[in-house]
């Protein structure tokens, strides 16, 4: 016993010493990653923080007060000014964007889901060929299509119209790809067979049985297509002439160009409008983040 305690006493100092050293090393090892991430978090957030501050100031304070801290808080007054400028043009643009992106992404998701499901679950000649053509479409950059789309729409005299921007956004080759991959691995054939034996028609089987299972993939397709349409700039720029058809990005671009050239009061509108147009997307992405987190969770908890 005495030898044991002696041995223990002999090892204890070095053990605790090791522990302390280990803790200190671990603290240093933890501090560096945190520091790196913190510095870049400032880089990521500073522009948006500046935008929030600038949007909350009255015009006269913009140049004269600390750009990174609040002066007189005028955010809501500024928002009211933007909303009423030129008979509510900004609200019109926001509504347009919500239509282009909200409805367009919905259509694109439904069509992509249907096509992806058939390409995964039905066997027919030419299936792989169809799928490969769609895959090629994934690699075609959207900007490469803008000019030829303009030429096609101008042939039917429809360039400056809602449809010229809306219809092309109903197509999501990436959505078909994702839906097919997900349906192939996630929707069991037995389930579809069972539904058929129960007398369910093929369309009903898709909408009632397969689509709910494919929901995670469909939500992803919807969010990515929503963001893609909301951010789209080249196509509306090349298609649209009437301000009343503009999406919010194109409208703010025009105001921004005018603000630097002639009308300085537009600058506040651009800043406030930029803030307002970013908010819906950040909300949409908070949902996406939660969704991705659950997707990542299945990949194994560490």
């Amino acid at each position: 016993m005495s030898t044991r305690t002696a041995a223990r006493a002999a090892t204890r100092p070095s053990e605790t010493g090791g522990l302390v050293r280990g803790l200190r090393g671990r603290a240093a090892g933890d501090a560096l990653p945190f520091l790196v991430m913190a510095v870049f978090a400032v880089y990521m957030l500073a522009p948006l923080w500046w935008l929030l501050i600038a949007a909350s100031k009255q015009r006269s304070d913009l140049n004269s007060t600390n750009p990174l801290w609040f002066a007189d808080f005028e955010l809501f007054g500024n928002i009211a000014d933007v909303a009423t400028h030129r008979d509510g043009m900004f609200l019109r643009w926001t509504l347009n964007s919500l239509l282009y992106a909200g409805v367009g992404a919905l259509g694109a998701t439904v069509f992509a889901g249907m096509a992806g499901y058939v390409l995964a679950k039905f066997r027919f000649r030419g299936r792989e060929l169809l799928f490969n053509v769609v895959l090629g479409g994934v690699l075609v950059p959207a900007t490469a299509l803008a000019l030829p789309l303009f030429l096609l729409f101008s042939n039917v005299g429809q360039t400056n119209s809602f449809w010229a921007v809306f219809l092309p956004s109903l197509v999501s080759p990436f959505g078909v790809y994702l839906s097919r991959v997900y349906a192939a691995s996630g929707v069991p054939d037995e389930l579809l067979e069972a539904a058929r034996i129960d007398g369910s028609g093929e369309l009903r089987t898709f909408f009632r049985v397969a689509a709910p299972i494919m929901a995670p993939a469909l939500v992803t397709v919807y969010l990515f297509q929503f963001v893609h349409i909301w951010n789209n700039f080249f196509l509306p720029l090349i298609m649209l002439r009437s301000e009343s058809l503009f999406p919010v990005t194109l409208g703010l671009y025009v105001w921004n160009s005018q603000a630097t050239q002639q009308a300085a009061e537009l600058r506040t509108f651009v800043i406030v409008g930029a803030l307002l147009s970013v908010v819906p997307l950040i909300i949409a992405f908070l949902c996406l983040q939660r969704f991705w987190r659950s997707g990542l969770g299945t990949g194994g908890v560490k």
Binding site: M44, L130, N231, Y253, I271, L296, G299, K302
Partner: protein, 304 residues
């Protein structure tokens, strides 16, 4: 599973049920493929067709008419110094910006994955937020931040003219890096999470430190994801348009031929659609060639 369904489908290929299935399949496929043909395939074909036309006039004042011009437009494309220079510019941009952005994204993803980072969820969210900002808005915000009169970073804007001819390319690169680093980080992080921990537990047991594990085990394992982000970054770089177009109203350093897509846009505004179509086709083919080339090179690296 698959075999069962196949057998069931084959059993009654000509029966009423088989016909019903076929009809349903066509009905489900039709909306996407009609729209895909109209707004993807047709524009591509039409652009190629337009690029082989040219405008001819009878005498000086005759009515213009479109005639087949063979490769005339393409000859003009390759003699257009401004267009070739715009390619050089985006290539220089890509050679510097893409590795910096992907390097940072990889570093952040490894730190998120290291298990030693506090406030992991917070950082993951914050780094991803700029991706939610539309390109137009991002360019407008940074345009303000670069301007000496409004910028909160006056000490920096006094020393560096961000909107001047020699710096503007890197000011643009900063906007792109700000927007897309977090997005690429998440793709790489998802790939890291998919790696089974046993694969590097062994290395850790052998006494390899976190840096060593990251370098010799984790990075090789996420190589496919790195290649994917690389391809998408190359495509994005060649298509650069929104940010320089927004900056054009802020500085004269960005000319109307600064990037290939600005050339396309400017040419179609003249309007000279045949030449613009030829520019578009060359740009799209170059994009294909470079992204496939990059894929091939990175695959060869794996086999070696």
């Amino acid at each position: 599973m698959m075999a069962q369904a196949t057998v069931a489908a084959r059993r009654s290929p000509r029966g009423a049920a088989g016909r019903g299935r076929l009809g349903a399949a066509v009905l489900l496929l039709l909306p996407f493929f009609v729209l895909f043909a109209a707004f993807y395939l047709a524009p591509v074909a039409y652009a190629v067709y337009q690029s082989f036309l040219k405008v001819e006039r009878e005498g000086t004042f005759g009515a213009p008419r479109e005639v087949f011009g063979g490769f005339d437009q393409y000859a003009r494309v390759f003699q257009d110094d401004a267009f070739l220079a715009s390619f050089g510019r985006v290539l220089l941009f890509g050679i510097v910006q893409v590795p910096v952005m992907l390097g940072l994204a990889l570093l952040f993803a490894l730190l998120l994955d290291s298990g030693r980072l506090r406030f992991k969820r917070f950082f993951r969210l914050v780094f991803f937020v700029p991706y939610a900002v539309p390109g137009v808005i991002a360019a407008i915000i940074w345009g303000f931040l670069y301007s000496p009169s409004l910028s909160p970073f006056g000490w920096l804007t006094e020393r560096i003219e961000f909107m001047s001819g020699s710096v503007i390319l890197w000011s643009l690169a900063n906007v792109t890096t700000w927007m897309f680093t977090g997005y690429n980080m998440l793709i790489l992080y998802a790939a890291l999470k998919a790696v089974p921990p046993e694969l590097y537990e062994a290395a850790r047991m052998d006494g390899a430190g976190a840096v060593r594990v990251a370098w010799s085990v984790k990075i090789p394992l996420v190589r496919p994801a790195l290649v994917l982000t690389g391809v998408f970054s190359i495509i994005g770089t060649l298509q650069l348009f929104t940010e320089p177009q927004v900056f054009r109203s802020l500085t004269s350093a960005i000319t109307s031929t600064y990037t290939p897509n600005l050339v396309v846009f400017g040419t179609s505004n003249i309007p000279n659609f045949h030449l613009a179509a030829a520019f578009s086709v060359v740009l799209a083919l170059t994009t294909f060639a470079l992204s496939f080339g990059f894929l091939k090179i990175s695959q060869r690296g794996v086999q070696a």
